[in-house]
C-alpha cells in the first residue's frame, strides 16, 4: 500500500469509526501541514476545514509546518514492542523537525489515532495490513537497535544525568 493511500485510509477510518476523535484531530491540526516520510516515500498531509489532503512531496522545496521521518523497520519494531518511541528518537530512527508547538501537535494527532484504535476494528485491520505488507520486505525486518546514547557525551553531562537519576537503566 502506498503511503498516500495508507494515510488517507487511516484518517477516513478514524472519521467513520470515532467522529469525536476525528473532530479532536481537526482541532489539534488546524490548518497546519506536515511532510511525512516513510523510507523513500514522502507525502504532504493537510487537514483543511475538516478535509484531508494528501499530496506527493516535491522534496526540500515543500513549505510545511513540520516534518516526520521514519522507516518501515522502525514502525514494525515499535508495533511488536521491541522498540520504545523514546529509543527510536534517540537513535534517529524517528526524526521530527519543526517548532516545538508544531511537533507537539504532530504527536497529538498520532496519539488520537492510537487512542481510538482499540475501539475501531477498521484501524486494527489497517495496522494488520501494514504489518503484513511491510514484513514481506526483508529490509524492514532487519531493524538494528543501536545502544543509547548514540553520540559522544562529556563526563560532566554523565555526572549531571547520574545525579538526577536520568541515566538509562540496565537492559536485559
Amino acid at each position: 500500500m502506498m503511503l498516500k493511500v495508507y494515510i488517507t485510509a487511516l484518517i477516513e477510518d478514524l472519521h467513520e469509526c470515532d467522529p469525536d476523535a476525528y473532530v479532536r484531530m481537526c482541532h489539534v491540526v488546524g490548518k497546519r501541514s506536515a511532510r511525512i516520510q516513510l523510507d523513500e516515500e514522502a507525502v504532504i498531509v493537510r487537514m483543511n476545514l475538516g478535509m484531508l489532503q494528501v499530496e506527493s512531496s516535491t522534496g526540500e522545496a515543500d513549505v510545511v509546518s513540520g516534518e516526520g521521518k521514519t522507516t518501515r523497520a522502525t514502525v514494525l519494531a515499535l508495533l511488536d514492542g521491541s522498540l520504545e518511541v523514546s529509543e527510536a528518537i534517540l537513535n534517529d530512527s524517528i526524526a521530527v523537525y519543526g517548532e516545538l508547538e508544531e511537533i507537539n501537535r504532530m504527536f497529538q494527532a498520532i496519539e488520537i489515532i492510537l487512542d481510538a484504535s482499540p475501539r475501531c476494528p477498521e484501524l486494527q485491520r489497517l495496522s494488520q495490513k501494514f504489518v503484513q505488507e511491510a514484513s514481506a520486505n526483508p529490509n524492514a525486518l532487519s531493524f538494528e537497535n543501536s545502544t543509547w546514547y548514540p553520540f559522544a557525551v562529556l563526563p560532566q553531562e554523565m555526572q549531571l544525568l547520574a545525579r538526577y537519576d536520568l541515566l538509562p537503566r540496565e537492559t536485559k
Binding site: D80, G81, E84, S86, E170
Partner: protein
C-alpha cells in the same frame, strides 16, 4: 479435575454484556534454562459487538534471550471459540473437560517463541465461585495451583524438549471495563513437580487503582494432599522496593501511546507472612525482570496496565504440623 470449567459468555438479555471479560491463563517455569513464561487467551466485550476482541498473549523471559513476546488480536468471528478453548491464528489454548489437561500452542513465522505444551493438573482445582467486586463490576475465578508441563518449544531458533516444568493455571471471568478504578496484586509461587511434598502458593488481593485501598487478601497453600486457605485475619503482605529495570511493554502501539507508563511505580519484590494456629508460612519473592501488558477496553476509553514481574522465591514454615522449606520460580502480577 476442572470438569465444568468453560468460558462464561453472557446471555443475550444480559445488559452487562458489553463489560464481559473471560480468559484462560497458563504460567510455567523451566529450571534448566531459567525460563519463566505465560500463555493467556482472552475475550473482551459482548459477543454481539463487532468491536469485541479475542486476544492471545505470550510473554517469556530467559536470562539468555531477555523478553520474548507475541500478541495477537482478532475479532470473535475470526477466532475459533469453543466451550473451553480459544484458538487464534498463532496462539491457542484448550482445556480437556474430561481431565482438566490443558493443551497450549504458540506458532507463527514471526514469533521468536514457538511451543506445544501439555499441562496436567497434579492437584485438585479450586473454584472461587463468588463474584468479587472489581471496578464497576465483578470478577470470578477458578484455579489449578499445580500443573506438570511437558512438550517442546523453540526460543529464538533454539529448540528444546521440556519435561516436568512447574506450572499453574487459572480461569478468570466477569464484567468490568479496563480503566475502571481498580487494580490487583496476584502471585503464583510454583512448586517443583518433581517434589510433590513441596507446597505451592497462590496469593491475591484486589485494590483501587492507586493500590491504597485493599480488598480481602487470599492465600492458598497447596501441598498436593493437603490444602489450606488463609484470609485477611491471617496474612501480612509487604511489597518490597521499586523495580528499576527496563520494562518490556506490549502491545507496541499502546506502549507508544502511554509514554507516561514507561517507568511506573511497581514493586521489585514481596514478603508475605501467614499465621493461623500452629500454621505459619513465610514467603520472600525477588523480581528479576518485568513486562507490562497494556490492555485497552473495546467499548469505553480505558486502559489497564498488567505488570508481570518474574523472579524467584523462597519459603519456609509449617503447615498442618509439617515443616517445609522450599525455593522456586514465581511471578507477581501487579495491575494498575
Amino acid at each position: 479435575m476442572i470438569t465444568s470449567d468453560t468460558l462464561r459468555p453472557p446471555f443475550f438479555i444480559d445488559h452487562t454484556a458489553p463489560a464481559y471479560k473471560d480468559w484462560f491463563h497458563l504460567n510455567f517455569a523451566d529450571a534448566t534454562s531459567d525460563t519463566s513464561g505465560l500463555i493467556n487467551v482472552s475475550l473482551h466485550g459482548s459477543p454481539w459487538d463487532d468491536r469485541s476482541r479475542a486476544m492471545g498473549t505470550v510473554l517469556l523471559h530467559s536470562p539468555e534471550f531477555g523478553w520474548t513476546s507475541h500478541v495477537e488480536i482478532l475479532a470473535y468471528s475470526e477466532a475459533n471459540l469453543g466451550a473451553s478453548s480459544i484458538g487464534l491464528r498463532d496462539v491457542a489454548l484448550a482445556i480437556d473437560q474430561r481431565n482438566g489437561t490443558i493443551h497450549a500452542s504458540v506458532a507463527g513465522a514471526s514469533s521468536r517463541f514457538r511451543s506445544r505444551l501439555l499441562a496436567e493438573p497434579i492437584s485438585a482445582p479450586l473454584e472461587v465461585g463468588q463474584k468479587s467486586p472489581l471496578g464497576s463490576g465483578w470478577i470470578s475465578w477458578c484455579l489449578a495451583p499445580r500443573m506438570r508441563i511437558s512438550g517442546e518449544w523453540e526460543i529464538a531458533g533454539h529448540p528444546a524438549a521440556c519435561k516436568n516444568l512447574a506450572g499453574y493455571h487459572d480461569h478468570n471471568w466477569g464484567r468490568w471495563y479496563w480503566g475502571d478504578d481498580f487494580g490487583w496484586e496476584w502471585g503464583c509461587f510454583l512448586a517443583d513437580p518433581q517434589h510433590p511434598e513441596a507446597p505451592s502458593f497462590v496469593f491475591t488481593r484486589t485494590c483501587d487503582r492507586r493500590h491504597q485501598r485493599y480488598g480481602e487478601p487470599f492465600l492458598l497453600a497447596d501441598l498436593g494432599s493437603t490444602r489450606k486457605q488463609y484470609g485477611a485475619d491471617n496474612i501480612a503482605i509487604r511489597l518490597a522496593g521499586q523495580f528499576r529495570g527496563v520494562l518490556h511493554r506490549v502491545p507496541g502501539a499502546m506502549a507508544a501511546l502511554h509514554q507516561e507508563m514507561a517507568q511506573p511505580d511497581i514493586p521489585a519484590g514481596l514478603e508475605l507472612v501467614a499465621r493461623r494456629g500452629t500454621d505459619r508460612v513465610h514467603i520472600t519473592f525477588e523480581g528479576h525482570a518485568a513486562a507490562q501488558f497494556i490492555t485497552a477496553d473495546t467499548v469505553v476509553r480505558g486502559y489497564g496496565f498488567i505488570h508481570e514481574i518474574v523472579g524467584k522465591y523462597s519459603s519456609f514454615g509449617c503447615i498442618g504440623g509439617k515443616n517445609f522449606e522450599t525455593k522456586g520460580y514465581a511471578v507477581l502480577e501487579y495491575v494498575i
